[in-house]
C-alpha cells in the first residue's frame, strides 16, 4: 500500500502500520528541520530527541504488526535509556560551552580549548 495514498485518504488511517509510519515520518522530518534551521545547541538536542522517538515508534510498530514478540520493544527500551544518558552528558557539555563562550550559538563554538 502506498503511504501517500493512505495519507490522502483519511478513512484508511485507522491504527494500521501505515498510520504509525506516517506519524513517525512526520516526527523525523520535523526533528531534521529543527536541527537544520536552529543555531541554538539546545534546539539541536531537542531535534535529536524527536528523531530518536521517531525511530522508537517504528521499532514498536514493527514489533506489533510484524509479530516479532518483544524484540523491538527491548530495542526501544535500550534506546530510551541511552537517550537519557546522552541528554545528561550533552547538557553538561552545553553548560560548559556557555561558561566558556558566553553563548550557546553553534556557529560561534569553534575551539575545544582556551
Amino acid at each position: 500500500m502506498n503511504l501517500l495514498a493512505v495519507a490522502a485518504e483519511p478513512g484508511a488511517v485507522s491504527g494500521s502500520l501505515s498510520s504509525y509510519l506516517i506519524v513517525s515520518a512526520i516526527l523525523f522530518l520535523l526533528g531534521l528541520a529543527t536541527i537544520l534551521t536552529r543555531r541554538n545547541v539546545l534546539y539541536v538536542l531537542m531535534g535529536t530527541e524527536l528523531i530518536l522517538n521517531a525511530a522508537n515508534l517504528n521499532f514498536v510498530a514493527f514489533t506489533r504488526f510484524g509479530g516479532y514478540e518483544l524484540d523491538g520493544q527491548m530495542m526501544a527500551l535500550v534506546v530510551v535509556m541511552l537517550a537519557a544518558a546522552e541528554a545528561a552528558v550533552a547538557l553538561a557539555i552545553v553548560l560548559r560551552i556557555f561558561h566558556d563562550f558566553g553563548s550557546i550559538d553553534m556557529t560561534r563554538t569553534d575551539s575545544l580549548r582556551d
Partner: protein, 169 residues
C-alpha cells in the same frame, strides 16, 4: 476505540512537534516537546507496549525535559532570531529526506505485510520484558552494558559540568 486513541495521541504528537520546531521562544519549544513525547507514550500504549509507555513518561517527560528546561533557563540569555534564509535553505533538504523516508517505509511495510501476521489482543509486557532482560541468551549483556554506561555518564556529566569552576573562587 483504539482508532480514536490513535488519532488523539497522534494529534498531540504532531502538534507538539510542529510547535517545537517552529516556535520562536525556546521555553515554549521545550514545553511543546513535553507534549510531543507524551503523545509518543500514548502511541506506545495504543500499540500494546504498556511498560515502554510508562518508561517513556518517566524518563523522557519526567527526566530529559526537566534537564532540558534547566539548561534552557541557565543558558539562554539572548534570543536567536529565526532566519528565513535558513528555512529556504533547509526546505529542499527536508523534502528530499522525506521522499527517501517514505520510500524506505513503503519497502519495509510491504515486507511486513508479506509476513501475513495479524496482531492479536495486546498482552501485559512487564514480566516478559523483565525475564528477557535477565536471560543469559536474551538481553543480559545489553542490560549490564547500559548499567555500566549509566555509571560512567553520571561521573562524566558531573566532571564535565564542574571543571573550570574550581579555578573561579
Amino acid at each position: 476505540m483504539i482508532d480514536f486513541m490513535f488519532m488523539l495521541f497522534a494529534g498531540i504528537t504532531v502538534l507538539g512537534a510542529l510547535v517545537m520546531a517552529f516556535h520562536e521562544s525556546i521555553v515554549h519549544s521545550a514545553f511543546a516537546l513535553v507534549a510531543a513525547l507524551f503523545g509518543v507514550a500514548g502511541l506506545y500504549w495504543t500499540l500494546g507496549a504498556d511498560f515502554l509507555g510508562g518508561l517513556q513518561l518517566l524518563l523522557y517527560v519526567g527526566g530529559v525535559t526537566v534537564l532540558l528546561l534547566f539548561a534552557v533557563m541557565l543558558t539562554t540569555r539572548d534570543t536567536m532570531r529565526l532566519s528565513l534564509f535558513r528555512y529556504v535553505l533547509m526546505a529542499p533538504v527536508v523534502g528530499i529526506a522525506g521522499f527517501f523516508v517514505l520510500r524506505a517505509y513503503n519497502g519495509v511495510e510491504a515486507a511486513i505485510a508479506a509476513t501475513g501476521h495479524v496482531p492479536g489482543d495486546p498482552q501485559p509486557t512487564t514480566q516478559a520484558i523483565g525475564e528477557m532482560f535477565l536471560a543469559p541468551d536474551g538481553y543480559l549483556l545489553p542490560f549490564q552494558t547500559v548499567a555500566v554506561l549509566l555509571l560512567l555518564v553520571l561521573i562524566g556529566a558531573v566532571t564535565v559540568a564542574r571543571r573550570g569552576q574550581e579555578t573561579t573562587p
